[in-house]
Amino acid sequence: MSAIPWRKTLKSIKKRLLVSILAVIFLSTIASAGMTYFQLKAEMDELFDENMKQIAHAIAVHDLTAQSEFISESKDIRRTLKGEEEFLIQVWDQNRLSFSSLSSIEFPRQGPGGIQTVIFDNEEWRYYGLKTHGSWLIQIAQPIPMRHTVIWEIYFEQLVPTLIQLPILAGLIWFVIGFGFGPLKRISFSIEQRSAKFLQKLPEKNVPKEVFTLVKALNGLLDRLSVALESQRHFTADAAHELRTPLTVVRLELDILKQADSREERDQSIEKLYKAVDRSTRLVHQLLEMTRLEPEQIQEVPKPTTLKQLVETVIDEIAPLADKKSITLYLTNFENVSIEGRFHALSTMIGNLLSNAVEYTQEGGRIEISARSETARVIFKIADNGPGIPENERARIFDRFYRILDPAQSGVPGSGLGLSIVKSIVDAHGAIIHVSEGLDGRGAGFEIHFPKSPAI
């Protein structure tokens, strides 16, 4: 079996459990079988040895002299013992073998002694010799291999049920594991039924403790997913709605152009067409920017970023526009603070706020940028002395596509997405944005509070 399918097999928890449980059972069976064998062997040896002693003593009790003739007449001519529990019994009178239970085996006289092992006929024999009160020597012997055969037979009789038990156990374990996995199976079935349109939470009732955390986490994910999908749907609908506006203008101006009967009319329509196309382009650009900034999709890794560096990068782009309107940009009370953030996103944020300030502030106006550090937060502020944002509009300016209705500001082109992009970036950095008055008791001020160790 190659390595990959094996790993694949083990990817199933059920199979993995089965294989490991069976392996444990098998190994412990082998270990206990080994131990049993040695125990059994020791017990059996002791038992056989004891038997040999008892037989010797039982014979010794008899008056051997009286029966000596009878005893010597053994007709058995086998050369081996019968196996189980049979012993070779010899009675020696001095150096003459007076009796042998199997005379064809010429086991020599060993002399008296306790239980011992001797070599006869290239085989190991267990031997016991008993000297009686007369001059008799009773010898009891048994070949050790035969003894082992007996032990093995007994041992196997014990082992077989254990071996038969293994496959049955495997089947039972397989079934029990399957039963244990029931709740998981049910959950995966309910997950399978979920789709982008059906993101209902998984049932949390009657879920085993071990799976509960998983179900809870999945439900959290489903929740976030449906919020994200919902906002995506809204966004698409809003985007489609907003794109209809410049398209309407394009369509109308083309209709007018077709019927135009003066050069002046034609020029007017063409100019409007350019504006409408520019507006769609800006809208598409910002829509893309916005999708890129969806909180789930921010790829850039946050790292320590100094606000000064950010502002300097952005000011390079903004300064020419400000110059054109003779607006002066000031860095006032700008402490050298840094925050944990995404450089690209943050510069988009500052860029949007600054270009708004430049767009809406009248010629010769003033914009002030400041940054300061407090115990728990870093406060970044951009304020201008332009027309400001009416108080009743402040709550809505961060809504997508929302544009302030104010004839004084109606000349400013925009898509109504700039501040909503700012808001997404602020949210993604765990920061808060406030709108207030700007400079000289007028104008607009945007204050962003960054946490010192943001939860990103």
Binding site: V250, R251, L252, I256, K272, A276, L405
Partner: protein, 223 residues
């Protein structure tokens, strides 16, 4: 014919106003929905073109209030909302028509004509009075089978007079029907148009009642 457009988007508002003015309508344009009621009280509008997504006040609420106060001005909803639910509630709340942005100018104008003549109980764009016949769709004017070319203002003026023959319109009334706010009106604009119409259709087609106003000859064929 004086129309009121309520549209918050500057580009669309400007363009729509320009296009409809070119077709001879007097067109006023509001950006803020809150000003609608006041404007309707102050001038005599033939039609209201209403956007739904308005700042200040939602188009639906404007419409509901209008109808509740018994105002039966024809209302055409012009919106980017294409949900069927929006169309249904718009029409049920008392709108006369519903158009989706973007749209073709020709279609919008045809629908405006339809709403205007429905108000007068007409079925077609052609109106006849004696030997005089005008077609609102093609802006064609003919008298005793002789066709004439009219500018859009001249045509609009003739239409106003023709819709209510015998009724005398003062110069101020005619100006209000022909010109929207901020439209440059020369002090003798009405006289100039009347002069042009008389030059084409004959001197007696329009009667001038001194110090009161103008009216269409009761039987234009006489000339």
């Amino acid at each position: 014919m004086r129309l009121l457009i309520v549209e918050d988007d500057i580009m669309i508002g400007e363009t729509l106003q320009r296009a409809l003015r070119k077709s001879g309508y007097a067109v006023d344009w509001l950006q803020d929905g809150r000003d609608v009621e006041l404007s309707l009280q102050n001038s005599d509008y033939a039609l209201l073109i209403l956007d739904l997504g308005l700042p200040g006040r939602n188009g639906f609420s404007i419409l509901t209030d209008l109808r509740m106060n018994g105002n039966d001005i024809p209302v055409l909803i012009l919106t980017a909302r294409n949900a069927i639910a929006d169309k249904v509630s718009g029409l049920d709340m008392g709108a006369d028509d519903y158009m989706l942005k973007p749209f073709a100018l020709e279609e919008l104008e045809a629908r405006i004509r339809l709403l205007l003549r429905r108000k007068n109980g007409q079925k077609t764009t052609i109106q006849n009075l004696g030997g005089l016949s005008i077609d609102a769709a093609s802006h064609k004017v003919s008298l005793k089978n002789q066709a004439y070319t009219f500018s859009s203002k001249e045509f609009a003026l003739l239409t106003i007079l023709m819709e209510r023959p015998g009724v005398i319109f003062s110069r101020a009334q005619l100006e209000e029907k022909l010109y929207g706010w901020n439209e440059e009106v020369a002090s003798n604009a009405i006289e100039v148009h009347i002069h042009q119409i008389r030059k084409k259709l004959g001197k007696d087609i329009i009667k001038n009642i001194r110090n009161v106003g103008y009216t269409l000859a009761e039987d234009p064929e006489i000339n």
